[in-house]
Amino acid sequence: MSFIQTAIPFVPILPLIGALILGFFGKRIQASVGEFKTGILGCLTPGLAAVISFASFFVLITLEPEQRVFTIHLTDWISVAELDVQWAFRYDPLSALMLMIVTGIGTLIHIYSMGYMHDDQSYWRFFSYINLFLAAMLLLVLGDNLVIMFLGWEGVGLCSYLLIGFWFSDSDNAQAGKKAFLFNRVGDLGFITGIFLLYLFSSQHYDIVTLSFGELDQRALFLSKSSLWDYPLLEIAALCFFIGAMGKSAQIPLYVWLPDAMAGPTPVSALIHAATMVTAGVYMIGRMYFLFALAPNVLMFVSWIAALTCFFSATIGMAQFDIKKVLAYSTVSQLGYMFLAMGVGAFSAGIFHLLTHAAFKAALFMGSGSVIVALHHKQDMREMGGLLKKMPVTGWSMIAATLAIMGFPLTSGFFSKDEILWKAYMQGSPALWLIGFTAAGITSFYMWRLIFMTFFGESRCDKHTWDHVKEQPKRTVVPIAILAFLALVLGFLNIPHFLGGHSGFTDYLSPVVQDLEIAPSKLIETSSLIDTHVSSTMTDESLSVEEDHTQLEWTLMILSVLWTIFTGLIAFFFYYLSPKTRQIIMSFIWAKKLFQLLSDKYYIDELYEIVIITPIKAIFQICSLHDQKVIDGIVNFAGFFGKWIAKISAVFDNQIVDGCVNGTGWLSQFSGQGFSRLQSGKIQSLVGASLLVGIGFIVLLVFYFI
């Protein structure tokens, strides 16, 4: 047993233990040892998991690339007929990377939460939930088969729900949690349908179906020949999985829950709704790239959905005033970039953006959380401003992360985003590139708008608050600074060839994730998919083609750098240098209307309200009317009928039965009274009576015998 095989199972188990301890005994622990030590306990298990993850990674990279895939079998789980699902973990370069992101950023955010959640009543509950989330997320990442992945997938959805509604005493927060949960359910339905489809068709041709990724990889080619209702099976299955990813990773049309999810505590937004859970969809496509590579139509669909998501959510981000909402729409937009990369077959670029985005977006969210705490839970940027002097570490960290997200040269976002845009141009279409390129400029604009509104200019908060603003304690700002530093430097992991690097990150992932060499649109045209399978060797021809494009690559890169700097400068001009110009422009009616449209999020929520919620409510109304009129009518009639019968029987009882009983009593009383007169003791009446009887006898004798 190597170190990896022994240690990896502990990675998800440790946070689970932490969650259980804190969940069952947390209240008592907090009462006895205090808040700080409870927090330490909460951070301990993710910390240990992070140590194991990093150690395992360093063991992994010493191995030969071919030997870097481990399957760690724990125990059997579901074994019915052909189905044989096992408790098994898969540790390979992709899951190793995700483990480091999840445990590393997770640990930093745990430490940050100790400061952020300070003085919260349910301190222990928060750490219990977030530990449970880590356990579920690690299960999702490590699962060797679709069923375990789905288990983790549902687990993170549950924890997301619990944590969004963490302050559930406010009904808005509880509503936001419910919304996230319901939207995720829509996606999960797609995911589980995909699993069923794969199982159904595998079980028709094979004796054993484990649904593990290795097995699916081997069988993907064979399964691609199957079809369901005249459509290729893999296209349908891949579409189902992408619907799952839409829900979890907030793509059009299922993205509306993510901005509302900002109702949760900020560490939750940073960890779950920026760095880890929402990228699960990207990870899932990367994990099953072989399946998506055989479904070029779905890839095209993915890339267009992603580009639209990327663009529209970025535009909404321009008009938000809630600092966390801006970051939320930014997250949706950045997820769009990742899916854009996935959609054009540049899987490693998508996962690389996942990595860099996890760093800079977590830093941004934690920075915003720091600002929010400093301003006593104010989130409106119109009440901020000038905070850089008071909060230098937070401010400069956020500026560094903003440089990364805008793609400033040599920061991480620069490498990852340009890689995606380049692949979108080459393997997608210039239109996709243009959308992504525009969105990159918008990103730069709204991020600098956020920075200038928050950290520069005059303070717009009231004086009392302003006097109390101070930099947060070390355990809050140090994690932010670490992540901001990572956001600046992570890009050097994957310097592309044309910049003199050797795409180290892509090579690292190559044993498990291989990029498409050919655009998905061309895959659709070519009839025989087998020849153009992902593992196709690069021909000399394609090499020469790539060299020809070096100049184009440089051009596009310089264009996007200039464009993002330009939009950043616009933000600088409007929000720092000359707010008056902004006010003049905003006074035009068209500008007002445009701003209103954006700040009202294109009325998508209202659209959902009309298209989905209103009909459902109407159906409910009909059902309720049916209940009230028909069902209640029957019930009421039965009741009325019973009452009526009861009345009749009551009359019968009262009059006849009681009458008999009372009558008997009355009769005996009456006759008793009557007879008692005979017993008067008066000799005269006795004699009178006997005389009458005697006369009667005589009369009888006279009539009968004479």
Binding site: G681, K682, I683, Q684, V687, G688, L691
Partner: protein, 103 residues
Amino acid sequence: MILDGYLVASAALFTLGVVLFLSKKNAIAILMGVELILNASAINFVAFGKFTPSQGSPFDGQIFAIFIILLAAAEAVVALAIVLAAYKEYKHIMVDQYTKLRG
């Protein structure tokens, strides 16, 4: 002279006795009613003894009447003694108010 006249007179006398016996509250009046009934029966005996005498002993009726007179005298003695005793106890002779022996 025929039997019917005697019998009618006897029945009338009997009826008067019965009415007197039943309607009066006064003990003396009741006793007078009883005397009338006894004498009505004595008239019957005498009348039947005269008009339908039996073969061996032709004066049975008349002798029976004498017995009735005797009996009536005895009865009157005893009853009047009781009335006198009751009068001493109650200071009146209204029989319906003699309730001490009521069960």
